[in-house]
Chain length 401, copies 2
């Protein structure tokens, strides 16, 4: 078989310039979230197929990379379908593995547990510009705390990261699954219809009010639809519908304490796709991007799926890849912590002379420089120009003597 | 389907204490290798099945997690075997993806290119204590430089990392595939038999001289085997066999320049399993571990498999997981960069009071502390004891007033 130079379809090799930005962002995220008391953890990228297909992942379950059973367990002859061939798959997000992790280790972890997880996730989506099949997610979650203190902390931590990366004027949209349900119930939708109604409402950004109205009318009585939409238009009754939600208090606290330059607004049309949310939900909207650069919410029922006992949980996922993309587009340069030096040496050097060069390099490294020792090329002038372009500020030549 | 709490067989959830050690080691590695002029890059964890099965990986090719084709491409009915069902798999090391990466991007990269790659690799090996099916590798490679300057730099960089992690008295074993071949040829083995001879020689650590002799005698004439083993015993002719190898000069330079406390020794029995090495090979032996905690070598022919044109390449992989294990066993504590504070707040707090608490937390964070805001539990005494155990040095209480 011939060897293939390109990465697999939809995945990406990361070149040094982008990698420097990624590492800068990751370090800043780790540092900032540590200030807020989050502890780093890691889960395997491979997850049980049973967990991945447990209906926690909504549409993402259609996009799973499935891993084949191995050895005797793979029974090709008797396999009736895909489900008999795979025993695991690549995780499509970090939340499901976190719920499994917490269910497995709760006894060894503090309560509440504030987790930070950064790692690759995988979705076999149609590849498109800026959207890859392997991408890095970066989540903070608070497990075991029912209070909205956690929502406030998550929003403050995440916006602090964005502020330190010099993003300004963005918006945190916030809503609550309970408010969504209250509004639907008040308009006359049945509980069982809610999911369908919210899926249509979620398309607002794409199809607008008229589109939403049209799609609702296709399935529900005109009267109910009209009563529903009127609530959004008028907003007058919203305050009573918000009563059993902490959204107003979260907004008040975040507004009073925020350090970054952003606004936080209640948005009764915010749905967030994933089916597992149970309480407050939030999303970061950024004009520069024209879409969400992160989001999250409360999912008090997922851990119970593993343990049989519900455990409060809330998380915020920052859109790592989009943030890196925006920074790259802005021409952001990760600050170089060390000045780069190149030592050019003649091709043939006696051992003692070579030792001198290495000792000199060691001295410069100890003094805080980054030193690359390189063999002089025939076209030394060109080599030095290239090195200068690559950011080498100090180029020294060493000869055999 | 029931949800499963344990990680998939042979993989591991990483708890905060181990994670802190891992991050400390990774940061130290990145920092040290940057001093030596290495640039960080990343490749996808998923690789083309054609590349994974191209005979570059030796025994590891039997341990590949294969990923099933998706959608229309998966043709269960007409599949004659596994090979028709999988189009990709999880990488078993970082070297093969690096060769692909370099083949794909050489035009965009400096020459020589000094790469640092840290990331997860996967092998469906039988799980055993301390050995996992997903584990982190950490490789430095120099691509495009035929000189042994690169070997010296790789060994100095790697041993500097180990020294900074306070490892002492370890040994770098070094040999050269060319010396191995010279010795086999001189004894009378045919070129075609070399691979087999080296596989047997590689078992030395496990079966000893007698075992190696016995296995060789099973396949080769007594005379040849005797002549071969005599060379190792007597060592007298080794110097002539080493003439076309830079091993002696590498040893001299490393000994003259090293900063860490270790020895570097020529070991004519060192083979290193992987089939792709073409020149000097090396391995780190550590008494505390009783085995290799890293290794590498020159592989001048792998990139040519992708491009049709050979490109010199040499790499050193540090045994990240083993190093972390040894540090954990020693009771190593990653230095806490921030003092941990806990703010305990009453369950019901008026908004204004809550805001004060968050402002106070912000002040402490800005002052360099890590602050967790937690709701007071009924058994506050127990809660405070637990927090103290978790490393919170300063616990403050805030009441509604």
């Amino acid at each position: 078989m011939a060897m293939i130079k390109k990465p697999v379809n939809g995945m990406k090799d990361i070149l040094p310039a982008e990698m420097a930005v990624r590492m800068y962002v990751i370090n800043l995220i780790r540092e900032t979230y540590a200030e807020f008391g989050f502890s780093s953890i890691e889960t395997p990228v491979v997850e049980h197929i049973e967990n991945l297909l447990s209906k926690q992942g909504g549409e993402n379950e259609k996009l799973i990379f499935k891993i084949m059973k191995r050895g005797e367990k793979l029974k090709l002859d008797s396999a009736r379908g895909e489900e008999d061939l795979a025993d695991s798959g690549l995780r499509y997000d970090l939340t499901l593995p976190l719920a499994r992790y917490y269910a497995n280790h709760a006894g060894e972890l503090p309560s509440p547990f504030k987790a930070l997880q950064i790692g690759p996730v995988f979705r076999a989506d149609r590849p498109q510009r800026g959207r890859y099949r392997q991408f890095t997610q970066c989540d903070i979650d608070v497990l075991g705390d029912p209070s909205y203190i956690s929502e406030i902390e998550l929003i403050l931590a995440t916006t602090t990261v964005l502020g330190r990366l010099d993003f300004k004027g963005f918006t945190i949209r916030i809503n609550d699954r309970k408010i969504l349900k209250n509004m639907a119930a008040k308009a006359g939708f049945k509980e069982a219809d809610c999911e369908k109604v919210f899926i249509i409402l979620d398309k607002m950004d794409k199809i607008g009010w008229e589109g939403v109205k049209e799609e609702l009318l296709a399935d529900f009585p005109a009267e109910t639809v009209e009563a529903y939409l009127a609530q959004f238009r008028e907003g007058t009754e919203l305050s009573s519908l918000m009563e059993d939600s902490p959204v107003a208090r979260i907004i008040a606290a975040v507004e009073a304490v925020r350090t970054a330059d952003f606004q936080i607004v209640f948005d009764p049309t915010l749905v967030r796709g994933m089916g597992y949310y149970t309480g407050p939900i939030f999303e970061i909207a950024m004009d520069e991007f024209g879409g969400s650069v992160g989001g999250g919410g409360r999912y008090d029922e997922m851990i119970g799926r593993f343990t049989g006992q519900n455990t409060p949980a809330v998380g915020f996922s920052i859109g790592f890849e989009r943030i890196v993309m925006l920074l790259m587009e802005k021409g952001f340069q990760a600050p170089n912590s060390r000045k780069k030096m190149a030592f050019l040496i003649e091709k043939k050097m006696p051992d003692e002379r070579l030792t001198e060069v290495f000792r000199e390099a060691e001295k410069e490294r100890a003094g805080g420089k980054a030193v690359a020792i390189l063999v002089m090329k025939k076209n030394k002038k060109f080599q030095k120009e290239q090195l200068a372009q690559e950011g080498y500020e100090d180029i020294r030549e060493f000869f055999a003597r």
